[in-house]
């Protein structure tokens, strides 16, 4: 039953293995030497655990995988080996457009195999990493094996203009809601314990994942862990290489990612309403310095998008946002690009109002999330203008101030969540 969603190729090879302590899925195309390095690091894990490494191999490159496996020093048929490197092909999947899509496609496959092998935890690697600390894979997986953590999230080196959707909404919202200061609650590189994946597998379920979109599982990782009183930590993994952005696809990205985040928020409302203040979480590894992008950034197009949204989307935003916020937005849109500044409290209230409208289904949910795009680009323009000539520490402080604004405005969210009609300033 559990192997239904596991790709056929994986099952064939994995059937020869009777059990494992850890299952590692490598979704990123890392190259054979990087994979060999990872395998060496995994062999050095304390207690000599049995590790199954699934390496994503395109269908047409399966024959070449044997060479890669021998480069990694693995024999996938040896029953007494402590590490098994197996090819892994996601059948029936079209080419993913974002790393998150590939992660969600791989998710159920890894879960099913981990459950079958009785693994103590599983780990998914979906990104190319630069400036990574040595043995970072061990830091990511050790907490699962020594049972000190159930969810090990990644912490990437901060680059000012990368991961903006995460920095502006997902991370501070998660911190404010669930009280955990976690940088990347949705991965996409992470490790989770058997207890957490069984909770997720049972709660979100195979049907839930199919009907509501696979992103739900990623968005549910931290809420499920925190609300089930499981241990959470994060590990520095170096700098993540982000795929190039297509500015016309930002609205579909927002719809794909924020929908599940707001849905997870709705499902765990009873849990996050009790949380008051945030606390830091255990962070493994030490950060390494990472070069920052130099030069000026062009924000005119972003400001133009924001101004166009304010001009044309009033009718839609009027159904979602209180009049005071609409007034603030109109004032903001009249400023020239060089004076464009999106106040934190305004941005936070907008995000909270959109989350509430998503819950109340005030308008069609896809329309709602897509209509957030000009506001998001307005925030990005404001942030980029402020941080253009700043050091990375200034960016960290700026994002910390934003996270504090999310926490400060939480009573507003709770009030509107409980009494949406009565409390409408």
């Amino acid at each position: 039953m559990e192997t239904e969603s596991t790709p056929q190729q994986t099952v064939k090879s994995a059937e020869e293995i009777d059990g494992a302590d850890l299952v590692v899925g490598i979704l990123a195309d890392l190259g054979q030497y990087a994979v060999a390095g990872l395998c060496d690091d995994l062999r050095g894990l304390p207690g000599n655990p049995r590790v199954v490494v699934l390496q994503n191999v395109p269908q047409n490159a399966l024959q070449n995988h044997a060479a890669s496996a021998s480069a990694a020093g693995s024999d996938s048929s040896a029953q007494n080996s402590s590490l098994f490197l197996l090819p892994w092909t996601l059948h029936g999947q079209s080419l993913p457009t974002t790393p998150f899509e590939s992660v969600t496609a791989a998710f159920s496959s890894i879960f099913a195999l981990s459950e079958r092998l009785g693994a103590r935890g599983c780990c998914l690697l979906a990104s190319h990493l630069e400036y990574a600390p040595s043995k970072w894979i061990c830091r990511l997986t050790e907490p699962l094996l020594d049972k000190s953590s159930d969810f090990v999230a990644p912490r990437y080196a901060l680059r000012k203009f990368e991961g903006l959707l995460n920095h502006s909404i997902i991370s501070p919202l998660t911190r404010s809601l669930y009280g955990k200061r976690i940088q990347n609650p949705m991965g996409p590189d992470f490790a989770i314990s058997q207890q957490l994946f069984q909770t997720l597998w049972g709660a979100e379920g195979r049907n839930g994942e199919r009907t509501a979109g696979g992103m739900n599982l990623l968005a549910s990782l931290l809420p499920r862990a925190v609300c089930s009183d499981l241990q959470v930590c994060q590990a520095y993994l170096g700098a993540r290489t982000y795929p190039p952005v297509d500015w016309t696809a930002v609205s579909s990205l927002l719809t794909q990612v924020l929908g599940p985040v707001f849905l997870a928020m709705e499902r765990s409302a009873a849990c996050w309403q009790k949380t008051r203040a945030s606390t830091p979480i255990r962070t493994l590894n030490q950060p390494l310095p990472v070069p920052q992008p130099a030069g000026s950034v062009e924000v005119a197009r972003l400001v133009n998008s924001f101004q166009l949204g304010v001009r044309d989307l009033q009718e839609i935003w009027g159904l979602v946002l209180p009049p005071a916020i609409l007034l603030e937005l109109r004032k903001l849109s009249r400023l020239p690009a060089e004076q464009h500044h999106f106040p934190d409290d305004l941005w936070v209230r907008i995000v909270y109002d959109f989350a509430l409208a998503h819950r109340l289904r005030t308008i069609n949910r896809d329309h709602l999330l897509a209509s957030l795009t000009p506001l998001y680009l307005g925030w990005v323009a404001s942030y980029a203008r402020e941080m253009e000539n700043s050091e990375v520490t200034a960016a960290e402080q700026r994002l910390e101030r934003l996270a504090l604004a999310y926490e400060a405005e939480k009573p507003y969210l709770v009030s509107r969540w409980r009494w949406p009609d009565r409390f409408n300033p």
Partner: protein, 233 residues
């Protein structure tokens, strides 16, 4: 002679009184049917109003962005629906009352009116669905166009909305069998006109956008690195 005239007059008077007397039960039935339908209409209007108020019908419609309030009495769609329900019952009562006369004219009139009712219901459903679809499509186009940075997003949205509305109204009129030929011709002219106007507006307005888009595609094909420094996820 006088005797014959008197006899004819008597005969006519008797005929008139007999026919009047025959009509009386039908007339009484009409009055009773009207009175009963008025009472039923009042009750139905009250029930519908209370039901819709308890469902917060006006607020829900407003949330959906419906413009029904603008053309409703006292800006209340609840009042509009309850009034429509009441008048429907009154008209049905009137038709039943007319049928009680049992004359050929009234019977055929009632039959033809009742035979037309399904067309009216069908047309109302077509109109309702069309208006909902028009609003949905207009919103999709508006948001999509704004997110593509198109300066004429509102024009596109309004144009699309009116295209769907014109199509819907034409379908409803054809369903009602009202001047089918004229409707088809007028629809063709109107629809074609709107499409032509939109094509001109979009075509002339987006020349630059199309050329930029082609340039961007060309750059992508030549593996040129994107200059956009922002990474969202």
């Amino acid at each position: 002679m006088w005797q014959q005239v008197r006899q004819a007059l008597n005969q006519s008077t008797t005929d008139f009184i007999t026919r009047l007397a025959r009509l009386l039960p039908g007339f009484v039935a009409l009055v009773v049917a009207l009175l009963m339908s008025l009472i039923l209409a009042w009750i139905a209007a009250m029930v519908v109003r209370r039901l819709l108020v308890s469902m917060q019908f006006d607020e829900r419609l407003a949330r959906l962005g419906s413009s029904a309030a603008e053309w409703s009495p006292r800006r209340s769609p609840t009042l509009l629906v309850s009034t429509i329900a009441a008048w429907t019952i009154v008209i049905i009562g009137l038709l039943i009352g007319l049928a009680a006369f049992n004359s050929d004219v009234t019977s055929s009139l009632v039959r033809s009116v009742f035979a037309y009712v399904p067309h009216i219901i069908g047309a109302i459903i077509v109109l309702f669905v069309g208006l909902v679809v028009a609003r949905f499509v207009a919103r999709s186009v508006l948001i999509g166009a704004v997110n593509l940075n198109l300066g004429y997003a509102r024009l596109l949205s309004v144009g699309t909305k009116w295209l769907v509305i014109v199509l819907t109204v034409a379908m409803a009129l054809v369903h009602l069998k009202i001047a089918v030929g004229i409707v088809e011709l007028a629809f063709g002219i109107l629809f074609g006109g709107i499409v032509f106007a939109l094509a001109l507006a979009v075509g002339l307005g987006s020349k630059e956008l199309v050329s930029k888009s082609l340039e961007r595609d060309a750059r992508k094909n030549s593996s040129e690195v994107l200059e956009e420094p922002f990474r969202h996820l």
